[in-house]
């Protein structure tokens, strides 16, 4: 431990967390983490989707009916909602990740670049989430 004298801020209250106004890049950053954690927690469900969709035509039917009839006590709309959340998580994590690669490769680390690329990340991921959500819920 080279710097054991660093100040440590712990036990922030929930009120402080909500009142703390993050800059655009900060919002993208915490959502990068939240989306990653969400996909990690739902990983068994993702592998289940992979399994049932691929293993056989019978299991494929089970996969497809999960979005209509649901799984067990969980209704179909709920499954769609969970998959929609995963779609958002994937898109946000993907675009925020590409943003990191772009910053690393082109040294685009000025305040203005950070702000505009963060805005792009949020806008692009939300727009694609809405579009794919409309497709998922059968609006087109």
């Amino acid at each position: 431990m080279a710097s054991s004298e660093r100040p440590v801020y712990r036990n922030l209250s929930l009120g402080q967390l909500v009142a703390y106004r993050l800059p655009m890049a900060g919002i993208v950053s915490i959502l990068h983490r939240v989306s990653g954690a969400l996909m990690f927690l739902l990983l068994p469900f993702i592998v289940w989707l992979f399994d049932t969709s691929l293993t056989s035509e019978i299991s494929y039917d089970r996969f497809a009916s999960a979005f209509i009839a649901g799984i067990g006590v969980l209704p179909g709309w709920f499954i769609k909602l969970v998959v929609w959340a995963l779609i958002w998580a994937y898109l946000h994590h993907f675009i925020a990740g590409v943003r990191h690669l772009w910053m690393d490769m082109t040294h685009s680390v000025s305040l203005q670049q950070g702000r505009s690329s963060a805005l792009f990340t949020l806008a692009a991921s939300l727009l694609l989430t809405v579009l794919l959500g409309a497709k998922l819920f059968g609006l087109f």
Partner: protein
């Protein structure tokens, strides 16, 4: 945090390194991004979407190998990310170690299941 970090006092739940994680996180991410593009292109190729087309995509041996690489990359990537999360938010060392062990079990279990799906196709 203990001020002594060697011998029996060694901190076993720290990262111990930085550059390797930084680089592996980017390499695994790039592989997954390439896989995403390859998969989307194949899904968008002409033909009705259904079991035959979907299973056909993963039936090709090169796609199996690429998918396998991505499964391993994903597990590695998620391990680095989740360990960072535990290191940031969970300070008691025993709890942190337990969560890190659980993360490894979770990821290796899911990766094994996915590999099984891939090669019984």
């Amino acid at each position: 945090m203990p001020s002594t970090n060697y011998g029996s006092k060694r901190l076993v739940v720290g990262a111990h390194y930085g550059m390797r994680d930084w680089l592996s996180q980017r390499v695994t991410a790039t592989l997954m991004a390439l896989f995403t593009v390859v998969l989307i292109v194949q899904v968008l190729l002409p033909g009705p979407m259904g079991y035959d087309k979907w299973a056909g995509i993963f039936a090709a041996q090169w796609m199996k190998v690429l998918t396998f690489v991505v499964i391993v990359s994903l597990a590695w990537h998620a391990w680095v990310g989740m360990r960072d999360v535990w290191m940031d938010y969970v300070k008691p060392l025993g709890t942190r170690l337990a969560l890190q062990v659980a993360t490894i079990v979770w990821l290796v279990g899911c990766a094994g299941w996915a590999v099984q799906v891939l090669w019984r196709l």
